[in-house]
């Protein structure tokens, strides 16, 4: 067997990210950035039509249809499977179907068990594996880094580039470590952890870096918890987030439809075991966090960095030393309709959204169901439960979770991105306030004039029961 690229490297200590990067370099040196090979390209309806158009105009094909897969998620209805009321949404989905047909790309459409949020579908099929490069025209592609892959979101021009060449020119990033020592306290989740990280770094703190999350608390997270952490890497500006693969990773991949089998499995694991940061490898930057100091964390403002402990209060603009942070905070308080000094637990909500590529997987639904079981959604609160994929939905039904949510008075929906970004009809109305397990609390993100507090699934469920921001411990 000829040496594969990863075997030909020297003995200089390297970070996990550096190893995966090196194993994918097609061309390096000279003035141009490194050209990276892309192992998996995920497509959805919103950021691909203009890319396919570009191919058509230039008379190009999709170079590797066998490394490309599409699903429908951003525009899809969640109240039924087949009626897309908005004609422009329908057109976008029909365009994706036609493009996949014309160029020979596999697609999972509405009604198929592998339809769903693109970042839930990749891991579910076993297509996301350690040591890969994964891209998608969606910034939350960083999710797939949980497997020890370099995974990042790209624009539509880059989607076209990957379709045509299966590569991407990429300037070499810097490397950062976020080390979380100790164990997370009972009741503190991956979501609380990552919201805390973003509150420390701000929305631009990770810029230009591939981040490796490591330490005991990260090792103790389930694969789905790790996906939640990596998913939100982009919210602090990081190029990508990744976690070294271990037994949990192999177990999660093993047996899935696209996992290697037999001898190929053994060869893959042998390689995956090399995917860790070497002793002595140097990071450009490191953030160290003590897991024991963490507690449930929520946002109060209009960017994911504006967060605080659930036990805390809404901050005042004067609390910030940086003049820009002060101005931004004042604007956020106004938009959110909040008074400084208000305890976070006293903030009432109208809507609770459980779902998204951040927290729409089976464990998230289980966590929320456990909290809500035998209880009722508070009067005047609308709780919407949107599984991350059709398969997650099926599994939840098999476990009886749908009944738990329905009995509590929640709205049990079909899979999709839904209210995370409000491209389909699932939107907040002006002034409505939501506790949302999604990833962005930007102005208008969940619907024009809507106000979003980002929370964990456990906090979302407890909030649905009490009608104000709360954790299960408050029930």
């Amino acid at each position: 067997m000829s040496p594969t690229p990863h075997e030909s490297e020297g003995t200089e200590p390297r970070t996990l990210a550096q190893k995966v990067w090196d194993a994918h370099v097609v061309r390096t040196g000279g003035q141009q950035p490194d050209l990276l090979y892309i192992d998996l390209h995920l497509l959805h309806e919103v950021t691909s039509p203009q890319a396919f158009d570009g191919l058509r105009v230039a008379g190009r094909k999709v170079r590797r249809t066998d490394l490309t897969i599409a699903t429908e998620d951003h525009n899809t209805p969640t109240d039924n499977l087949f009626t897309i009321a908005d004609p422009t949404s329908r057109k976008q989905i029909e365009t994706l179907r036609a493009n996949c047909e014309e160029f020979g790309v596999r697609i999972h459409s509405l009604g198929d068990e592998n339809q769903g949020v693109v970042h839930v579908v990749g891991p579910q099929l076993g297509l996301t594996q350690p040591g890969m490069t994964v891209v998608c025209g969606d910034s939350h592609t960083s999710t797939h880094g949980a497997f020890g892959s370099i995974a990042f979101g790209i624009g539509t021009s880059e989607v076209e580039h990957v379709l045509a060449t299966q590569t991407l020119p990429q300037a070499k990033p810097k490397f950062m470590a976020v080390t979380v020592n100790g164990s997370l306290p009972e009741g503190v989740s991956a979501k609380d952890l990552i919201l805390k990280v973003i509150s420390i770094t701000g929305t631009g703190g990770g810029k230009g870096h591939i981040v490796e999350y490591r330490g005991q608390a990260i090792e103790e997270l389930s694969m789905e918890g790790r996906m939640t952490v990596c998913n939100m890497s982009i919210e602090w500006g990081a190029k990508a987030g990744m976690i070294a693969p271990d037994e949990k990773t192999y177990d999660y991949v093993k047996g899935r439809a696209h996992a290697p089998k037999g001898e190929e499995w053994d060869a893959a694991v042998e390689y995956w075991q090399t995917l860790k940061t070497d002793e002595g490898a140097v990071f450009d930057k490191e953030i160290v966090i003590d897991a024991a100091s963490l507690s449930p964390f929520v946002t109060w403002g209009t960017n994911p960095g504006q967060g605080v402990e659930l036990s805390g209060t809404v901050p005042a603009p004067e609390d910030f030393d940086d003049p820009i942070a002060r101005t931004t905070a004042a604007g956020a308080l106004e938009y959110m309709g909040l008074e400084a000094g208000t305890p976070m637990r006293e903030i009432d909500v109208d809507v609770v959204f459980l779902g998204s590529c951040t927290n729409g997987r089976i464990e998230d639904l289980r966590t929320a169901a456990e909290v809500i079981k035998g209880r009722k959604v508070a009067e005047g609160v609308n709780m919407m439960v949107v599984p991350g994929s059709a398969k997650v939905r099926e599994q939840a039904i098999a476990e009886g979770l749908d009944k738990v949510f329905i009995d509590a008075g929640a709205d049990w929906r079909f899979a999709g991105c839904s209210m995370c970004l409000g491209m389909n009809p699932d939107q907040l109305t002006p002034g409505q306030r939501a506790a949302s397990t999604s990833n962005r609390n930007f102005e208008g993100r969940q619907g024009k004039g809507g106000r979003t507090h980002l929370v964990s699934p456990a906090v979302a469920a407890a909030t649905a029961v009490t009608g104000h921001l709360a954790s299960p411990a408050d029930l």
């Binding site: 998996l40 790209i154 696209h258 499995w265």
Partner: protein
């Protein structure tokens, strides 16, 4: 892609930081399947307010947006760049940009230049006092010039060349097609493929 060498025009001073791509163009405007016609979505929610900058008569001819730090963070939507271009902007100046947005802008001939906070503040004041005054963004010299003031900026040499030549990345990469083919012939056999499998 349009070539960019130098541009002289009026400034729209957007005194905001952390302008994410959901603000630049809300998701409901992303449903088109074409690459043009996104100008109506640009800052759509803010433009409903008649006091918003772009609704002021003195900024109707502005072609250079000067804005606060962390411009273009968040969603990867290239529609944010198309909306700025379709509206008529040729360049955006900010202390710092979101990475994906910045990459997208340079692939569409929209020049994004990073200048320090102090320079941005000075450009804001200038445009507020004299909306009709013009500034020059010169990619060849890597300079922004306003009256007797000049600020240099850093720009990756390769990206600068590509932008000035208006080159298409795909064509550039395909010059190395042999290297791609060589890499492919050497990939591990166990690497996953998306072809349907029997389960």
């Amino acid at each position: 892609m349009d070539k960019f060498t130098t541009h002289t025009g009026q400034v729209a001073p957007l005194r905001r930081s952390n302008v994410d791509t959901d603000q630049i163009i809300p998701a409901v405007y992303l449903k088109r399947v074409t690459k043009t016609g996104f100008e109506d979505g640009l800052f759509a929610e803010w433009r409903e307010d008649e006091k918003f900058l772009l609704n002021q008569p003195e900024y109707q001819n502005a072609t250079i947006l000067v804005t606060g730090t962390e411009f273009g963070t968040g969603s990867s939507r290239e529609h944010a760049v198309w909306a700025l271009k379709d509206y008529g902007f040729k360049a955006v100046i900010a202390p710092r940009f979101g990475d994906i947005f910045r990459g997208n802008s340079l692939k569409n001939g929209l020049l994004t230049v990073e200048l320090p906070e102090a320079a941005v503040e000075e450009l804001w004041l200038r445009a507020e006092l004299h909306p009709e005054s013009e500034i020059t963004v010169d990619l060849e010299a890597c300079e922004v010039r306003a009256g007797d003031r000049t600020w240099g900026f850093e720009f990756d040499e390769f990206l600068r060349w590509r932008m000035m030549e208006g080159l298409d990345d795909v064509a550039l990469t395909l010059r190395d097609e042999d290297k791609i083919a060589a890499f492919e012939s050497n990939r591990d056999a166990w690497r996953p493929r998306t072809l349907p499998v029997q389960v």
